[in-house]
């Protein structure tokens, strides 16, 4: 990986469908050699829920409430669980590159990429550790969840880093009946989940910069945006796949 050139696309904000469509469009352009392996950071506007490839949308998400508050719902290409992407509460990353750049063993590859997140948190004086398969914990509580897929020789891993957390909205979106939300439940979640702001009062921009530094340290990196082809392909995928009922309500 030493002489690999990485493209870095810095923090941008798009809707759920374009965010997922870009992951697929860029996977295609990296596979064809038109683009370099890519590191991207992004936020979601409107706030959104992404569900794992094998999850049932209606079982995991209160889609009526999502509609009420204008939150998007999108199915990912990757497995794993339902994630609330709070526009004000997290930063998401994607790594897209040829499989050969990463360890063949799945857990080792998660460990490698999660290591970059751990480096980033270290830059903020936050001590984190990798919990197989795909979590990063601080003091035993989850600060980052990650998901990976490998298709057509391309590895895509994406995940979130929790900056802040709106537990109430998350509970309502992720199908926890109102009657069941007790103080105990909220404190239970708070026992299992943590966020950057619990450790350090930083601006979100500082977290974004720490992530750039942690991910690019030791790498040959150049900063660039998307090609016109990637954007057009992403728009097409967003419209014909990721924003459609067929895709999202597939299960």
């Amino acid at each position: 990986m030493d002489d690999t050139q990485w493209r870095l696309v810095k923090l941008e904000t798009r809707d759920a469908f374009m965010n997922m469509a870009l992951d697929e469009a860029v996977s295609e352009s990296v596979a064809s050699g038109e683009s370099m392996p890519t590191i991207r950071f992004y936020k979601w506007k409107p706030s959104a829920v992404s569900i794992g490839y094998f999850q049932s949308l209606k079982e995991e998400v209160d889609d009526n409430f999502a509609k009420e508050i204008g939150a998007d719902i999108v199915r990912r290409r990757t497995g794993g669980g339902a994630v609330y992407h709070d526009n004000k509460g997290e930063i998401t990353y994607s790594i897209i590159g040829q499989e050969k750049l990463f360890p063949k063993d799945l857990i080792e590859s998660y460990k490698l990429i999660c290591g970059w997140i751990i480096n980033s948190l270290t830059l903020l004086d936050i001590e984190a550790n990798f919990a197989p398969i795909n979590d990063i914990l601080v003091g035993g509580k989850k600060i980052s969840g990650n998901a990976q897929t490998r298709r057509n020789g391309i590895l895509l891993q994406h995940g979130t880093i929790l900056y802040d957390l709106d537990v109430e909205t998350m509970f309502r979106l992720l199908k926890v009946p109102k009657e069941k939300i007790s103080d105990k439940m909220i404190s239970d979640v708070k026992q299992r989940v943590t966020r950057v702001l619990d450790f350090k009062q930083v601006e979100e921009a500082e977290l974004a910069q720490a992530l750039v530094n942690g991910f690019t340290d030791g790498k040959n990196v150049y900063e660039e945006g998307w090609t016109a082809k990637e954007l057009n392909r992403a728009r097409e995928l967003a419209q014909t796949k990721y924003a459609t009922k067929e895709w999202n309500y597939m299960r």
Binding site: L106, I133, R192
Partner: protein
């Protein structure tokens, strides 16, 4: 459980399974081969040997080079059997 993964199933069942949908927050590769696991349950009747069925699922997993993280053949099998039992209970209560 913090790292516990969940597997659920829905079945369309008359006297045998006509369709099945297994869902959960597990990881499975390659994703396209997931249908091979669901296919195992089609045409099944309610009277099943859970252990034998799980072995059948495991065989499909192995033969197709499928890797699963967060779920095992036993979990898929249990989820489908629970869905059948739930359906039978609901059908009875509906009468």
């Amino acid at each position: 459980m913090p790292n516990g993964k969940v597997v659920k199933a829905r079945v369309n069942f008359s006297d045998k399974i006509e369709s099945v949908s297994i869902t959960g927050d597990f990881f499975l590769y390659p994703e396209e081969k997931f249908g091979e696991i669901e296919k195992v349950f089609l045409g099944m009747s309610a009277a099943v040997d859970e252990k034998k069925l799980a072995e059948k699922v495991q065989k499909v997993i192995t033969e197709n080079g499928i890797q699963v993280f967060g779920a095992k053949a036993e979990d898929f099998t249990k989820a489908v059997i629970q869905a059948i039992e739930k359906g039978l209970i609901e059908a009875t209560e509906g009468n």
